[in-house]
């Protein structure tokens, strides 16, 4: 089980969890109609390095030169673990994900066990303490996206849920960095 801090800090921090975050999917014009598609993510966690967020905050409040300002904040969505195993976490978007069998003969399957132990690089299992009121969830690092920093600052006070405590957030950050920097090799390697 991870530890959380329910207190909102003075600024956006790595490990912050925000609910109902809007991601602008597309903006288009159809005749004289402006069409904006956005995806509403129930929960996201901030992945941007905390030192960058701290520098950004200082430079913004002190109205200093903008070389430390970051235009966007990296986040990743996380999904209800039960929905994740059923493969239904994105069904509202018309996307059917692969279902993962959790139990076999009364025991967790090998794949479920690997996910729960955070041994699959793409996923990070979050078992929240009861006071967070959050269901057990799974971060999908493949689904990371960025949010405009000003947007996140504006919704911060109303959409803040809690903060993943230090060490636990560093583990998430490190695993995300490792996943992002993985090297994909071609399926069919030439012999020789």
């Amino acid at each position: 089980m991870i530890k959380i801090d329910p207190n909102m800090g003075a600024r956006i921090s790595q490990g912050d969890i925000y609910h109902d975050v809007e991601y602008i999917e597309s903006v288009g014009v159809e005749g004289d109609i402006l069409v904006i598609n956005k995806i509403l993510y129930p929960y996201t966690i901030v992945l941007t390095q905390d030192c960058d967020l701290e520098q950004d905050y200082k430079f913004r409040i002190e109205d200093r030169l903008g070389d430390k300002i970051i235009p966007s904040v990296l986040v990743a969505p996380f999904y209800n673990a039960d929905q994740f195993f059923l493969g239904t976490q994105l069904e509202e978007l018309g996307i059917k994900m692969r279902a993962i069998q959790k139990m076999k003969k009364g025991r967790p399957t090998t794949e479920a066990r690997l996910i729960l132990n955070n041994e699959i690089p793409r996923y990070h299992y979050l078992d929240f303490p009861a006071e967070s009121h959050l269901a057990t969830s799974i971060i999908d690092f493949k689904h990371y996206f960025s949010l405009n920093t000003k947007y996140l600052v504006n919704i911060r006070t109303t959409n803040f849920v809690c903060k993943v405590s230090e060490l636990y957030r560093e583990k998430i950050s490190q695993r995300f960095a490792a996943y992002l920097s993985r090297i994909g090799l071609p399926d069919n390697m030439e012999e020789g």
Partner: protein, 85 residues
Amino acid sequence: MAENDKPKVHALKLDEATGKMVLDIDSNLKYYSKKETPPDISLEPSISTKLLDEKRIPDVSTSGEKKEYAENKPRRVTIRARIIS
């Protein structure tokens, strides 16, 4: 041989990746019925099965108000606005 007379041994198998003999968990589990206390298999990863045993858990908002299950999934919202030039 009766079920209870089966030897409670820890079978091993060769891990081809490491070249070492490791505990064959699946093979060992065949010897133990669900009513018996399973052996202490130290090589088995420690995991939390709480989630797996529970029914589907509806998520709960920070205010403590229960949300419908489907509301906790990402969803698409489309806004259409007439451009006034």
